[in-house]
Amino acid sequence: MAGQIKDKDAYQRLNYLYQAAHCVLSQNPDNVELARFYCSTQRTIARRLVLRQDPSVKRTVCKKCCSLLIPGVSATTRQRRKKGKIRFTVMRCLSCGHTKKLLNNPDYCLWADRPEAQLEQPPKLPETTNILSTQSFTCERAQPVDQCVLCPGKPRTVEGEAISQRGVDVS
């Protein structure tokens, strides 16, 4: 049933705004301002509700000024090559000049299409961190605890070390 989808209203709204931007541009390709307004509204909504937008949508909106990028109308599309064989598709926004470079790779698989993305399980944190985050008040001036536990690359402070040991003890 369609009602089961979470945030269905918001997705419909995003969809409408994206279509409205297209509609405005198709009426007069010069009216970039309004299309830009709709796209930026769309982006703020998605950011506020933490909704993922499809890559095909993200690739047609300028990151800098939020214009809708339509090749030949509000953007230019060119094929460029770096020294070696690597080829890029370069999209250039005609209103602000910002460029988007996309690697030409026919075998590229979007994250959403990969099998491991379908599992819908965020990587499980070790149980100690859960305890830690509730117990982090034990030490006054430790850094944010999950920072030093989760990123082993970062040098741990002495306090962080103490806490993590205590956490292990508790578990």
Partner: protein, 222 residues
């Protein structure tokens, strides 16, 4: 021979595959103008054809001389001052024509019927109100019913932009009216239902509304 190649018509079958639609003469005119404007450097206004008649034109958009910009501007996002300076969202007067926004209104109608799951005459007003609170209003036909300032009353038009404190409405007389939300009541007509929007309770940005929870409070004084 190159010229004949450039001016050749697209074969019918290929056009069908790509899904080409022929445009009306005026539409084709405007899109050509816009294309030339965006792709010729130093384009000067309406006399687009005069340089075309006597000299070769570079169609490639060439960037202006690369200037050594400060490192700071490397970030891709703009700040608010830059946005204001570039006038990112102001609609230019030549686009302020009512008929340009009619397709937007039709699109909005389809959208709102979809959101309200069919917009049947039997659906309950509460359900519609709940949906409408979270829906987008750009493209709707709004009219001012009541207002502290009597000169706003009666203004009707398509909502073009919604800001935090203000609705921008384009009227049939091709005028963009800026109407403050505070102390005004708007009416919204959709598929036989009329809803009233109390502007004083609506003072948020268009994007904030979909995340916010509305409280039911009875008293609205105007």
């Amino acid at each position: 021979s190159t010229e004949s190649l450039v001016q050749a018509t697209i074969p019918f079958e290929m056009g069908k595959i790509v899904g080409l639609q022929s445009q009306s003469r005026s539409q084709a005119e405007t899109s050509t103008q816009v294309f030339l404007k965006s792709s010729i450097r130093n384009f000067r206004g309406a006399d687009a054809t005069s340089p075309l008649s006597y000299k070769a034109v570079m169609l490639e958009y060439s960037r202006p001389k690369k200037e050594k910009v400060k490192r700071r501007s490397k970030g891709s996002r703009m700040n608010a001052a830059q946005k204001r300076r570039m006038k990112l969202f102001t609609i230019r007067p030549e686009h302020q024509r009512y008929e340009l926004f009619l397709p937007l209104h039709h699109l909005w109608r389809q959208y709102i019927t979809d959101v309200c799951s069919g917009l049947k005459p039997t659906s309950s007003p509460q359900f519609l109100q709940q949906k409408l609170l979270k829906a987008d209003l750009h493209g709707a036909v709004l009219s001012v019913v009541r207002s502290r300032c009597p000169s706003y009353v009666g203004t009707t038009g398509i909502l073009v932009q919604e800001f935090k404190h203000v609705f921008k409405i384009i009227t049939k007389e091709n005028k963009v009216k800026v109407i403050p939300k505070r102390n005004s009541v708007f009416s919204l007509e959709m598929g036989g239902f009329t809803s009233f929007i109390y502007g004083s309770r609506f003072e948020q940005r268009a994007s904030e509304r979909s995340a916010k929870k509305f409280k039911v409070r009875g008293t609205i004084d105007l």
